[in-house]
């Protein structure tokens, strides 16, 4: 019992001692110094573009050789003209909606 009491007392004593000596150290430019020291990470964005270009080239080649583009063109010719005009006029509207929603998201984040 006495041993437990001593342990608890010691605990309280040390907690109070360390709390008294616990101080918050001001930044004083430390984090900026760390940021300066951080090495630049290499930018691998070009890999994405390279693979995208290869992918587009392969799909164009396959589409051309398999006659898919010719089929698509035949199919498009069968669509009435005013439908195509409607689709073309829809593009600006869709783009405007996309931009508006993006701006809205940006404002929400800020």
């Amino acid at each position: 019992m006495q041993v437990m009491e001593k342990i608890n007392n010691d605990d309280l004593l040390l907690k109070s001692f360390f709390n008294e000596n616990k101080e918050k150290i001001a930044d004083n430019g430390f984090s900026k110094q760390v940021l300066k020291q951080i090495p630049e990470t290499p930018n691998y964005e070009w890999v994405v573009w390279l693979f995208a270009a290869i992918g587009v080239a392969i799909s164009l080649l396959l589409g051309y050789s398999s006659g898919l583009f010719a089929m698509a063109l035949t199919y498009l010719r069968q669509i009435p003209f005013y439908y195509l005009v409607g689709i073309v006029f829809c593009f600006p509207l869709m783009a405007m909606l996309a931009v508006c929603s993006q701006q809205n998201c940006r404002f929400k984040i800020a």
């Binding site: 004593l13 907690k15 001692f17 616990k22 101080e23 918050k24 020291q37 990470t41």
Partner: protein, 182 residues
Amino acid sequence: MSKTDDIRWVAQVTLFGDKSAFDKLTCKYQSSIRRFFLNLTMGDAPLSDDLAQETFIKAYMNLNSFKGMAGFSTWLYRIAYNVYYDSARSQKHYADIDEYEIDRQHQTQNEFSAEKMDIYKALKLLRKEEQTAVLLFYMEDKTHVEIAKIMDCPLGTVKTYILKGKEKLSNYLTNAGYGKDK
């Protein structure tokens, strides 16, 4: 600022290389990490700042290996602990230098108060592992389990370090008359 903020900032750094997110993490943890080093180095402010800087740079470089199982703070202290022990090992050859002279120089450089000298005097009574465990437990409010993760040792060993450290420190403080007026 919660643990979810930490995870969000870590994700921003790892996915987008967002340095400003890492700056936020540095700002949040700089005080506790620098205080931890300051106490381990017995008040050597320039050395503790160097070690803290090394810790944050290593954290940035190895952020991909942070799995989020333990808190970011525990992970950061683990790096800090390794940085400190690597530095202590590499500076072993300086051990022969007159410690009294170093202490005296630090005393004048950092203008320590009597209380601060007390804490460093008290910590000097402990072994390095005991110092680390006691500081993490009483000063940085870490749990036994977190300390075991930081020091990479069994839970029982951590408890022994803290118990032994507590005994030595309470004897020292009682003999020095601390807490008598409370």
